[in-house]
Symmetry: C2
Subunit: 208 residues, 2 copies
DNA sequence: GTCTATACTCCGATAGAC
DNA sequence: GTCTATCGGAGTATAGAC
């Protein structure tokens, strides 16, 4: 850190430790992962871990959680475009879902997500609140987008809040099921297709 | 167990240990819970735990998981009744949701659910598959019920599969959010009201 | 920065008296 | 059935040489 270059050797060593720990925390959990094993897998000796993370395992966990939240929140720059038909709305919705789905396909994001959920009792309120905040932000922009689009297409807007919530439910159910329950982020296109069908049916009903 | 009476002293002791362990596994996790602490909280001495559970902590976990699955699966005797209007469908749906919600309000059910999700990497495939099986069973009866009801009320049945899936999403999203993310099963009636509104809007759209 | 060696604690599990 | 005492091992963290 002496020269301020972000990817100097110091940072590389730290990242190596973080990567090994993230992998193991995901596979075996925080408590079941030992510093000895992290050292071994990272190819470093007993003492060195404490040079990079003076507060030990817990500091490593915090770093992983923090990195993960920052990384996953990046994709939120979601800007819904203009629409001229219901079909357009549908496409924007499924496009947004794909975008979220891609995020969790990245090993690193998937792992820090799983750790954050699994070890939530170890986290501070701030750390564990990120998902709810994220969801609320997304729901907000969804309501805004649907309201604008419905008005333009002369669709009744009185239930727009509930419709947005239903769409969020469709997205979240799939993500929770695949990641938390099935533990399978490589899932087939069948899952994505299912989501798209449900969105299609819902929006068809809305525009009738 | 010599006389076959289900609630003899032997069973009571076992249940005491299980209750203490379940509480601690929920609060601190399986790995972070020590047998010493279970012994202390259960008011028994060092060796006694191994008299009741010869295979130690792991056997206790298995017992908790198994008990929980059995207990939570009981409520599945869901029989949807006859309907004469869309309003009836709506009531049966919200009634079913309330039923599920009540199950998780029971401390014991909530705890074993959380443990099952949280420690899923420790479980056998059989043990971790229960939720998916349960969901599919429910989805099946939902499709059946809606098909029958729609036919009776002369509603288009071509999208009944997707509509059932959407309803499942609405239910599951709330349960996951409240239990896994917010960690708050005592949640206000606002959550239930939100679900009911979404179901209402969806079924109104369907019957138009 | 990186290593070796090790201190110290606590864990799961067992032995054996009662 | 229940207890006390304790073993053997493993965990986190530190000391100190290089």
């Amino acid at each position: 850190m002496s020269n301020g270059v972000p990817n100097d050797e110091h940072e590389q060593q730290k990242n190596k430790i973080l990567a090994v720990a993230r992998e193991s925390f995901t596979q075996k959990g925080f408590e079941a992962t030992t510093t000895r094993q992290i050292n071994k897998q990272a190819g470093i000796s007993e003492g060195l871990l404490y040079y990079y993370f003076p507060h030990g395992k817990r500091e490593i966990l915090d770093a992983i959680i923090y990195q993960g939240i920052v990384e996953r929140t990046k994709f939120i720059g979601l800007s819904f475009g203009d629409v001229n038909s219901v079909k357009d709305i549908e496409q924007q919705m499924t496009g947004f879902f794909d975008q979220v789905w891609q995020v969790f396909k990245k090993e690193e994001n998937y792992q820090s997500f799983m750790i954050t959920i699994r070890e939530r009792m170890l986290l501070t309120d701030d750390q564990s609140k990120w998902l709810l905040d994220l969801m609320n932000t997304i729901l907000g922009s969804l309501v805004e987008f649907l309201t604008k689009s419905f008005q333009k297409l002369s669709i009744d807007t009185s239930n727009v809040q509930q419709i947005a919530e239903i769409i969020m439910s469709i997205f979240q159910k799939v993500i929770y099921d695949e990641l938390l329950i099935k533990n399978d982020r490589k899932t087939s296109s069948a899952v994505v297709a299912g989501v798209e069908q449900q969105i299609h049916v819902l929006l068809t009903l809305v525009s009738k």
